[in-house]
Symmetry: C2
Subunit: 346 residues, 2 copies
């Protein structure tokens, strides 16, 4: 996968709510900032050329167009997209990773379809039953964030799958953040051993048995942000609700904050002065900044950007992909699974 000397990433240009309107400006920004980066733009050649011309990049040496004729709609059923959209921008960008013509793929498209296609095209690593969506969230400690998975790739996960997520999350924290023996926790509705569903208790038992994993026990939703753990593991339904709730609360507080700061002349002046600081404060809780979620457990790197991502957000997702290429995350997960981590069903 890392055969290529240069840094090459395939972009699903047509994916996301706004497609090329946000993916092309992000691509242009990326190649301008990173000289060694080469991007393969998968999508409608006419639309891409029109957008590139707007940015005076019609003939940019770091950009190659890979023409595709189909688009995976945001409401396409995954199975339908998988079967019928083999020439879509999403599918082709994944094919390019599979064929070692790109080291990673970035898409802001239909999550379910991307998940199914990536799973089918790239296949999972040996010992991994299901890939997972992983991303990082801020904590009370300015300099530390917490990795959380699964954020919505799998509706339900049994104890073997959750165990494998813990292993993958551990590698992510170790490789991407350089944390030695990352603290792994399971998200639960209580910290006491007796709490939660049977499959969570079974996962806890499996993790406790494995001395290679620094399992610290259960954490509750309010502990996601207290830097108690480096990696928090849960099924995709719970993870998705937690992530979206986090975004929702941040938006609520930001809106109420602005209402407070627009009350009178004094507060308006204060608001002006605090404006940039407040934006900076809320950004990490805003999908726009923190939305580069990675699909891990596959034989290739796939970064999922938010459906309503801005150009900046999509650019952040490209940077995330570069980081994972440099740290060789899939290879490191593979090594971990082969050395001492028995993740298969017993």
């Amino acid at each position: 996968m890392i055969a290529l000397k240069s840094l090459t990433i395939a972009l699903d240009v047509m994916g996301g709510d706004k497609g090329p309107l946000i993916t092309i400006p992000a691509a242009v920004l990326a190649v301008k900032n990173i000289p060694e980066l080469h991007l393969i733009l998968c999508g409608d050649v006419n639309i891409i050329n029109a957008e590139l011309s707007k940015h005076q990049c019609a003939q940019h040496p770091q950009l190659t167009i890979f023409p595709t004729t189909e688009i995976v709609a945001m409401d396409d059923k995954p199975i339908v997209a998988l079967r019928n959209k083999k020439n879509s921008s999403m599918r082709k960008s994944l094919d390019l990773v599979h064929e070692n013509k790109a080291q990673a793929c970035v898409s802001a498209g239909n999550t379910g379809a991307l998940f199914s296609m990536a799973h089918f095209v790239l296949k999972t690593l040996v010992g991994v039953e299901r890939p997972a969506l992983i991303s990082s969230l801020p904590t009370h400690d300015e300099n530390k964030h917490v990795f959380m998975l699964d954020l919505g790739a799998n509706v339900f996960c049994d104890s073997n799958v959750l165990y494998q997520f813990a292993v993958m999350g551990s590698v992510m924290a170790e490789q991407v953040d350089g944390i030695k023996s990352p603290r792994i926790a399971l998200l639960n509705m209580g910290e006491e051993e007796m709490k939660g569903s049977d499959h969570i208790k079974q996962t806890a038992a499996k993790l406790a048995q494995n001395s290679d994993i620094n399992y610290i026990g259960f954490v509750e939703g309010n502990d996601i942000f207290t830097n108690k753990a480096d990696v928090i593991v849960c099924d995709g339904f719970v993870g998705n609700v937690a992530l979206k709730t986090c975004e929702g609360v941040a938006r609520l507080v930001y809106q109420k904050m602005n209402t407070v700061l627009s009350r009178n002349l004094f507060t308006r002046i204060v608001g002006r002065l605090l404006s940039s600081t407040l934006k900076k404060l809320f950004k990490p809780l805003n999908p726009d900044q923190y939305n580069g979620a990675s699909l891990i457990g596959l034989r290739g790197i796939v970064v999922k950007s938010h459906g309503d991502a801005s150009s900046k957000a999509f650019y952040m997702a490209i940077l995330e992909a570069i980081k994972e290429i440099e740290r060789q995350v899939p290879e490191k997960i593979k090594d971990k699974l082969e050395n001492g981590f028995a993740c298969g069903r017993k």
Copy 2:
């Protein structure tokens, strides 16, 4: 249940992390503010008397002590507490409701134990399989909140149970908030019909068939606060994680806000001036203020206060109990279930 002319509530004085240290001051505050209120204090008679003396209320006419010898610990297994702690303050305060000697019970104790005991002692209303924990959360609209259930009473809920939660939530919003035809939504990992688990899709189908319920579809975590729905329904695991995540984010933002406001002389002055406004802003997202969760679906009123509730929070829970007594919530749910709401298994 509403046989008594006066307003009588039984308190589990020993429940919660701090027990009498927070429940007694709350009880004293309540009877001082509400002349018609009578409280039955269930717990250790010596400790209660000692605490009451501290507040010069040793002989208060609105307070009666019901001596109990056992305490349900916060880590007692529900089944053990149910079997072996028949003379606990928690159990006795529920017995008093069952015997019509009190119209409601308030406890800050072990949620699982309270749930099991309340279920066993009070029994569920006809047509209700499982009671649910319900509470309200703030929205972007200053004057509106959203009811959410289940917040942790049930780990897993099938489609019949979720359907019944929707009916109970609808009654709660109608009776307590006076909303005509409340908007009912199911919490899911996406708004599209195909999203989510089978039991969520089955619940959606059942709700869509019932013209007596104003079912508006799926909402995601970030929509909890956007006033899209009056009632949001989910299983106890997901609801608990969402609620705790909400608290966690609020604490995170509040802490970061204070860091920002203590940077220099100017920000410190601004911080002082905004201090009360900020506290007011974060309060609704703070369990201390919003933690009076009710256990509904039972033949009696049970209000659960946060385990680490402050006196003020426990006082708020007492006020919530009074509101439900006045609005006769259990009777209204019973009526609704008997009139046109088929909640049984088909």
